[in-house]
């Protein structure tokens, strides 16, 4: 019989980033009892790292902007594999969600006439990103945290969920442990919201924090929910490269938004040589026009450095592969050059990009006001995730909701920068709202104690074994995914990856840890491994099945877009025999109005 403490909540939110906190705030405002579980301390979720801003069509800097343009930009960026209903809701509701943050204490940068300032970003036709310096993620999470702590929400910090509990066809709670003491906890809840973020820790080079082990994706999958679009992993083009300890850490797109340019080792601005057909009419064809765009000239078109991330990442990858890269295997990102254009360039850069300046000075010994940065692609975001219904964010499992990066639908095959922070607040709010309603409409269901005992016992098995270190298995998985399921994919390599993953799964079953349950990171890693392996298998299987290139998924053996693949999402479900099944699920169709908007904005 397992020993555990039991907590009763109406709504349990798993994850305390932007989406989780926004959901918890909305659910508690609806009057239900809310508990939030987070692996790290409150206020320190990965949201804290987001730099660029939150996209909302408020029209404060360019009044030509409105929800229709935002909707079209999001769909175009996603190569039309998005859920159009989610894209419409997001574009319409983001402005209200952003303004609400101000009422809760957020202090954004201002326009000359005192309104919230908005900046340019890749893939957005007009300056749309509300921001504060280059630390908008911190601003978001702190605002939600400072508002949320007065709402009567119970925060369970530094706790990890090991499994969701499902009984009689619906979710009834979750089971986990506290990291500090290693004691088990049973959460009995009427509705559960997953807001666990992404999967970056499955790769060697990533901008993601340690928490991003795909927990929500794996928990949902094993509970019977559907995953969609797992082949679409975004590799952000600009991550730090040198020294090795900082490899992967993000360099915000905002640097390019402020005029930063990309050069190869011949000093050439290579992005001008490769502008995709569907963006030609919106992209500058000379450096002068590109510069004017970044300085707010409404008649200028964006520089090619601000094309979508998948395209820029591939171009950088190509430059490096073909021998035109920088000394440590990347290309150059240069913002210092703007001193040719602005008299007070040094001060301007420090004011607009303070944490970039700080990050490079402290960790890389480089002064970005004087020298170029070496950057290269880094695993950054997963567009794919848990399938949800657009309005309510409920998954295929009754009572189970998902919001934020762990959900799917808004971003399609490629996410635009700035659309994640707004995703969190728009759909976090809806998930909380509908989870609260579900809790009000349904009585609590009972937990299967035998299931709990089984899980509790299994999780402790590594203590009894003198096996391989879980860190080694994790390390090998990260190398495998980095090499075989990265930016440029091939059939043979992904098949090898699949074989490799199955072998790693076997190794994971035999890992051993020393010490005891108290704050034991080795033990925690052995538990996280299962999630990492599940999502890695999902990404690889989906990557194999999509035999075309679209958005962030690029196949060297199928380098073009194939219209037949443009009509479905790849769905992943757990079969009755426990194996991972991949099917083609039709897209959510666009309405006539939505189709018209897309046409207008071409």
């Amino acid at each position: 019989m397992a020993e555990y403490q039991t907590f009763e909540h109406d709504v349990l939110v798993i994850g305390a980033g932007g989406a989780g906190l926004r959901a918890a705030i909305e659910a508690s405002a609806a009057g239900v009892n809310v508990g939030v579980v987070s692996k790290s301390l409150l206020g320190k979720a990965h949201t804290v790292m987001a730099e660029g801003g939150m996209a909302a069509a408020m029209g404060n800097v360019d009044d030509r902007d409105n929800w229709r343009v935002h909707f079209a930009d999001t769909m175009r960026g996603g190569q039309y594999l998005n859920n159009p209903r989610m894209a419409e809701i997001h574009a319409k509701e983001a402005p209200a969600r952003v303004r609400e943050l101000e009422a809760w204490g957020a202090l954004f940068d201002r326009t000359g006439d005192g309104r919230i300032l908005q900046r340019n970003f890749g893939g957005h036709r007009y300056p749309r990103l509300a921001h504060v310096g280059d630390r908008t993620g911190l601003e978001l999470i702190r605002t939600l945290q400072d508002h949320g702590i007065h709402q009567g929400i119970q925060f369970h910090m530094e706790m990890t969920i090991v499994t969701l509990l499902v009984n009689a066809g619906r979710v009834v709670g979750a089971f986990g442990y506290d990291r500090e003491r290693g004691r088990y906890a049973l959460f009995h809840a009427k509705a559960v919201v997953l807001a666990t973020g992404g999967i970056g820790r499955a790769y060697k080079i990533t901008s993601n924090s340690w928490e991003y082990t795909g927990d929500g994706h794996s928990l949902a999958y094993h509970a019977g929910a559907t995953l969609l679009g797992m082949e679409f992993v975004q590799f952000h083009p600009t991550g730090m490269i040198w020294p090795p300890s900082v490899r992967g850490i993000l360099v915000t797109e905002g640097v390019r938004g402020e005029g930063g340019i990309l050069k190869n080792n011949q000093g050439k601005r290579f992005m001008f040589d490769d502008i995709p057909a569907n963006y030609k009419s919106q992209t500058a064809d000379n450096p002068e026009e590109g510069w004017r765009y970044t300085q707010g000239d409404k008649n200028a078109r964006r520089p090619p450095e601000l094309l979508t991330r998948d395209h820029v990442a591939r171009c950088i990858n190509r430059e490096v592969k073909e021998g035109r890269g920088s000394p440590h295997g990347g290309v150059y990102l240069d913002i210092a050059w703007i001193k040719e254009k602005l008299p007070n360039a040094e001060e301007h850069i420090k004011r607009k990009l303070p944490s970039m300046y700080h990050q490079f000075k402290q960790l890389g010994d480089i002064d970005i006001t004087k020298d170029a940065m070496e950057i290269g692609p880094t695993t950054h975001y997963v567009m794919g995730g848990i399938k949800v219904e657009a309005e309510s964010q409920m998954t295929d499992v009754p009572g189970l909701f998902a919001a934020g990066e762990c959900g799917v639908g808004l971003h399609g095959a490629n996410r635009l920068g700035g659309n994640s922070l707004s995703d969190l607040i728009v759909f976090g709010k809806r998930a909380g709202e509908y989870a609260a309603q579900y809790a009000k409409d349904n009585t609590a269901a009972s937990v299967d104690k035998a299931q709990v005992d089984e899980v509790a016992q299994k999780a402790l098995e590594p203590f009894g074994r003198s096996g391989e270190s879980p860190y080694q298995v994790q390390h090998d998985l990260q190398d495998l995914m980095q090499d075989l399921v990265g930016i440029v994919r091939r059939q043979e390599e992904m098949e090898r990856a699949l074989e490799g993953i199955l072998k790693l799964k076997e190794r994971a079953r035999h890992v051993g840890v020393g010490g005891n349950r108290e704050y034991n990171p080795g033990w925690h890693t052995s538990v996280d491994l299962n999630n990492l392996l599940t999502v890695s298998e999902a990404v690889t299987r989906a990557g194999l099945e999509r035999k075309e290139s679209r958005g962030a998924h690029f196949r060297e053996d199928y380098p073009s877009k194939d219209e037949t693949f443009g009509t479905f999402n790849l769905a992943i479900r757990k079969g009755p025999d426990g194996s991972m099944q991949v099917t083609h699920d039709p897209l959510v169709p666009m309405t006539e109005e939505q189709k018209q908007i897309i046409e207008e904005m071409k």
Partner: protein, 248 residues
């Protein structure tokens, strides 16, 4: 390849000791990298809190050779490597294990500080108008990553253990940010003076010295708040002026 020795505190609230670990070091490494190598290769159960590795989340606070610092932002080439580098947990909070401390007191304190009370919106769409110059100062305070290094180093908490009477530098800038928010309509000066113990701060400025975000805690937040408290409660002319203004 060069090696370096790290003297790391191992133990919990019932006791412990420093243990030496030697590991390979390379160019550009930070202290947290070394701790990770040691954790992976020599001490699987070494308890350490970390998250972003880029100085943004405030999780990896520790005392390195006696100085409160973030482990992920402390480059090895800024430390003397010919002797062991001592890493101990923050001393001002109860120890959980090894390098992890119980910082929950900070979360309780924050809940006791009155939240933002916005005034009526300036525009029909429910938004406010603020100039950049109005928000520059509170924005500085909102850069805080809640690493709690300032709390750790403040002698009022660290040496005099006045956790029940003094909220510490982190929450003094939190209060300052609320008081200076252009749309706030509340008044926290009474709380600062009484329950929150602003009088205990004697402007030693150790907090400012350790802040990884370079927030000018004492000069820009604590001193202005002290001045406001003094104006409100101790200025006889001010009292007179307010009496007349409120119309007796």
């Amino acid at each position: 390849m060069a090696n370096a020795t790290f003297r790391i505190w191992r133990g919990d609230s019932s006791g412990g000791k420093y243990q030496d670990y030697t590991t390979e070091i390379s160019e550009g490494m930070v202290v947290l990298d070394a701790v990770h190598h040691i954790q992976a290769e020599q001490a699987n159960d070494l308890a350490v809190r970390w998250n972003c590795k880029a100085g943004k989340c405030g999780s990896c606070s520790a005392e390195i050779n006696g100085m409160p610092k973030l482990m992920c932002m402390t480059r090895l080439n800024t430390l003397p490597l010919d002797q062991p580098i001592t890493i101990q947990p923050m001393q001002t909070f109860p120890l959980i294990r090894d390098l992890v401390t119980d910082v929950s007191w900070n979360y309780k304190v924050k809940q006791g500080i009155r939240k933002l009370k916005p005034r009526k919106p300036d525009a029909p769409d429910g938004s406010w108008r603020m100039q950049q110059s109005d928000v520059d100062r509170p924005q500085e305070f909102r850069k805080c990553i809640e690493c709690f290094l300032c709390q750790d180093v403040c002698h009022v908490l660290r040496d005099h253990h006045k956790h029940d009477e003094f909220i510490g530098p982190r929450f003094l800038i939190y209060t300052a940010q609320l008081e200076m928010n252009p749309i706030d309509a509340d008044d926290r000066l009474g709380d600062l003076r009484r329950e929150q113990g602003i009088g205990f701060c004697n402007i030693t400025k150790c907090c400012t010295k350790v802040c990884p975000e370079s927030i000018t805690i004492t000069d820009n937040a604590i001193i202005p708040l002290k001045e406001r408290v003094v104006d409100q409660f101790f200025d006889p002319l001010g009292k007179l002026f307010r009496m007349f203004r409120s119309g007796s």
